[in-house]
């Protein structure tokens, strides 16, 4: 049975995902669980795993495409079934197009009976080319080499191996040889950071064929003027094209008008940044989504904040022991994850969402950890943290953070979080108020551990303490429940042995 490769939904609010890169080419044999593509979701860049073993076929999403969640972007056919792709013939490719012969015109049908040599020459005909654009396999896949391009057979083979579209290889002579392909591979490697970073996006912005979004010229202009990413918009035009009406009005911040002398002459307000205005910095998807989500949360979720200072003397002792015993570099964060999970298990109402006028409870204690990236913020999740030991939490945390920073998170890594911990202690912050990470009900903001003077048995004592701030969405959590949770957490931090009780 062929398996569909679909654009995954990685979070509740996600509607589309962007195909950054195919790591496998049509015709390639893939194993279940093997990474076949890189997908940039609203939050992160993740690797998409093959849902089954077989042969990758019918790749309909091109690199750079933004695809609705749930849409099939490729098929993995059984290895046993006759693969339409003639993978043995290198790049001269009748590949998957060949399978769609039913859609071909009579001319092409007749040419299909020709010998392979004639066949490849037949691909030069305009008919073939036009039909190719109709076939489910679009242009621009790495392996698809256009026979109109002058390339040596060896160059085609090397291009196929490296997933290079020969149309993107430029040479002085117009003829492509192996060395040209390898040079292209090198330059691509240099230009595109592993996480599909700025260079990749720049290529999209520059309008490379793979990155084109259907939008009217007016919509494009308005989006650019208003600083809106077209990829974030849902088009109402033909085939989902973005039209002007789909581009939201610019959010105009009403100028804060200090008492203005009541004069009738028109005022020329200076730019708030002075001079000719500030430097504009383009932001990536992760940053943009962070901005949008935080705005949505801050403006729709009524926040309240509970602050509590906790003594972490015992926690420090525990940390030292955990490090020696586990052989893993355990951090305070790992201990906090463990304790937060335990506190949630005792106060499961914290793991809830306000949804459509009701409270939705989440049974699994999946704790997210805010990780700062160059380009914004991601929240990888340690699933069922209440069932894990400190050692395992530390190992998972280390792996997740490393992969988050490398842009290598997988869909499962960021799904399902019910609570978030944000720790800015390492930056010397005493305490701060975080914004709830929707659709979660609460987020814990962790300040630094510092020696502070606190009363101990009626006497001032210098003890290591930490200030915790719990931000809550009042629609899903009330003050008393939030306080009970924070109290339980504080007890656990001050006396971790309570875990055993």
């Amino acid at each position: 049975m062929p398996a569909n490769v679909i654009m995954p939904a990685l979070e509740l609010a996600q509607e589309t995902g962007k195909l950054l890169r195919w790591m496998k080419a049509p015709g390639d044999t893939v194993r279940k669980g093997e990474a076949i593509a890189e997908i940039e979701t609203d939050k992160v860049t993740v690797e998409l795993e093959a849902p089954a073993s077989g042969i990758l076929q019918q790749v309909t999403a091109q690199e750079g495409d933004v695809v609705p969640v749930g849409q099939t972007i490729a098929i993995i056919a059984d290895s046993a079934s006759p693969a339409p792709a003639d993978t043995g013939r290198g790049a001269t490719t009748l590949s998957p197009q060949g399978s769609s012969s039913a859609t071909l015109s009579p001319q092409e049908n007749s040419s299909a009976t020709l010998s392979p040599q004639e066949n490849s020459s037949a691909t030069l005909s305009p008919q073939e080319n036009s039909s190719a654009t109709l076939s489910p396999l679009g242009r621009g896949q790495g392996e698809r080499s256009d026979t109109r391009i002058k390339a040596s057979p060896l160059a085609r083979k090397v291009a196929q191996e490296h997933g290079v579209d020969l149309a993107h290889v430029r040479t002085a002579t117009g003829k492509i040889e192996k060395a040209d392909v390898l040079a292209h591979v090198e330059s691509r490697r240099a230009a595109v950071p592993a996480n599909g970073g700025p260079a990749d996006r720049a290529a999209v912005a520059a309008g490379t064929p793979g990155g084109t979004i259907a939008a009217s010229p007016k919509a494009r202009r308005l989006a650019a003027e208003r600083g809106i990413d077209l990829r974030a918009l849902k088009g109402s035009g033909p085939a989902g094209a973005v039209l002007a009406i789909d581009v939201p009005e610019a959010v105009v911040t009403p100028p804060v008008i200090a008492p203005v002398p009541s004069v009738s002459e028109p005022l020329t307000l200076p730019s708030p940044w002075g001079g000719e205005g500030g430097m504009e910095e383009k932001v990536g998807t992760v940053w943009r989504v962070m901005a949008e989500r935080m705005t949505a949360s801050w403006t729709s979720a009524p926040h309240f904040f509970l602050v509590r200072e906790v003594n972490v003397a015992r926690l420090g002792a525990w940390l030292a022991r955990a490090r020696t015993q586990s052989g893993v570099r355990v951090t305070y964060t790992d201990l906090l994850i463990k304790l937060v999970a335990a506190a949630i298990a005792r106060h499961p109402r914290v793991a809830a969402s306000w949804k459509d006028g009701a409270i939705e409870r989440h049974p699994d204690v999946n704790v997210g950890l805010a990780v700062a990236l160059e380009d914004g913020l991601v929240v990888p999740v340690i699933h069922k943290a209440d069932t894990l030991g400190v050692r395992e939490i530390a190992m998972r945390r280390e792996d997740l953070v490393a992969r988050a920073q490398a842009g290598k998170l997988r869909p499962a890594d960021i799904q399902g979080g019910v609570f978030t911990i944000s720790n800015l202690g390492m930056y010397g912050v005493d305490a701060f108020s975080a914004i709830v990470n929707p659709p979660q009900a609460a987020i814990l903001a962790v300040g630094r551990i510092a020696d502070r003077v606190i009363p101990v048995d009626g006497h001032p004592a210098v003890q290591p303490t930490m200030v915790l701030t719990l931000s809550c969405d009042h629609r899903a959590l009330d003050g008393a429940r939030g306080a009970q949770f924070l109290g339980a957490l504080a007890d656990l931090i001050e006396e971790p042995l309570t875990l055993l009780v």
Binding site: S216, P217, K218, A219, R220, R221, S236, G237, L243, A244, I245
Partner: protein, 327 residues
């Protein structure tokens, strides 16, 4: 003061007569232009007023009298050459395209060819494939020729007078189906400048650029559009060359959508040129592809039922405009 109304045909005749009275160099030449007063009866009475020396009947030889006209223009006359059906301009192509259009340039400006070719366009007259074409794109293509397309009686008179006074060769295409259409035409002298489009109807949602016979059709469609809440702006370029690009582009910028309607064959036609002008000039303001509507790309059928289908109608223009507006 009530406005005087003339038919389109009467307006053409009045323009020619006034110019012949004003300027003795103006004369009329063609088939059946004198005693017969033209098959469309547009020239009845002219030979009586101006005589057979200035209203000259010719044998059936378009290349011959077109050549006479070009020569007369080169030597100081201001001929109005009547080509009965627009289809027949194919016979005058060398005279128009290689002689009249080029002489001024190839003589270093020493020769002027102030000639007017007066001819017709328009289908649905049941005249079959050789008498129903709208070939104004052919001459609009040629540098050195100016092309006017009067869309009503007022334009018929004003553009004809401008054409006769212009020192360049002008081809003026009259809509043969409109000769009996009446409209206000001022008495006395007035001209309509070439290269100045007229906004026939202001609107917000879509620009319909319409020429000649398609102007009334598009105005009718605009009324239908209004009923569904679409405000259409209808613009008549009046001359395909010189072309008032600015007005077209500015309107498209305003409305974000444009539909170009012309009775010439759609492919490689006037609609293509105007659509291209708009697409280039208003690209970043367009919210939909610029749509063209011309005559169907077929030899015009003799069957009335089929013939009517080949030309854009109020209903088809309405539907196309509505689809562009996605309403």
């Amino acid at each position: 003061m009530s406005e005087r109304e003339l038919t389109y045909g009467e307006a053409v005749k009045e323009a020619i007569a006034e110019e012949m009275r004003r300027d003795p160099r103006v004369f009329l030449i063609g088939e059946d232009v004198a005693e017969a007063g033209h098959p469309f009866k547009t020239l009845v009475g002219l030979v009586q007023e101006f005589g057979t020396e200035r209203v000259i009947d010719t044998p059936i030889s378009e290349p011959g009298y077109a050549g006479i006209g070009v020569g007369a223009a080169m030597t100081g006359m201001r001929p109005v050459v009547d080509v009965m059906f627009g289809d027949f301009i194919t016979l005058t192509m060398d005279q128009m395209v290689n002689q009249a259009a080029k002489a001024h340039y190839m003589s270093g400006g020493k020769i002027k060819v102030p000639i007017v070719f007066r001819t017709t366009l328009g289908a649905t007259r049941r005249s079959a494939a050789q008498h129903s074409q709208s070939l104004h794109a052919w001459v609009s293509h040629i540098p050195g020729l100016k092309v006017a397309l009067p869309s009503g009686p007022y334009e018929a008179k004003g553009l004809m007078k401008t054409a006769i006074r212009d020192d360049s060769p002008v081809v003026i295409f009259e809509d043969k189906m409109m000769y009996r259409v009446k409209g206000p035409v001022p008495e006395g002298d007035y001209t309509i400048p070439f290269g100045v489009a007229e906004v026939k109807r202001a609107g917000r949602d879509i620009t319909i650029v319409a020429t000649s016979s398609m102007v009334p059709v598009s105005l009718g469609a605009a009324k239908l559009l209004e009923e569904v809440g679409i405000s259409a702006e209808v613009i008549d370029p009046r001359t395909t060359w010189p072309l008032d690009k600015e007005t077209l582009i500015n309107s498209a910028k305003k409305t974000s959508r444009a539909l170009v309607v012309d009775e010439g064959y759609e492919r490689y036609g006037v609609t293509a040129e105007i659509a291209s002008v708009i697409a280039e000039g208003a690209f970043y303001y367009l919210d939909a592809p610029v749509k063209r509507m011309g005559a169907m790309d077929v030899p015009v059928p003799f069957s009335p039922v089929l013939e009517d289908l080949t030309v854009p109608s109020e209903q088809t223009v309405f539907e196309a405009a509505r689809a562009l507006c996605r309403k």
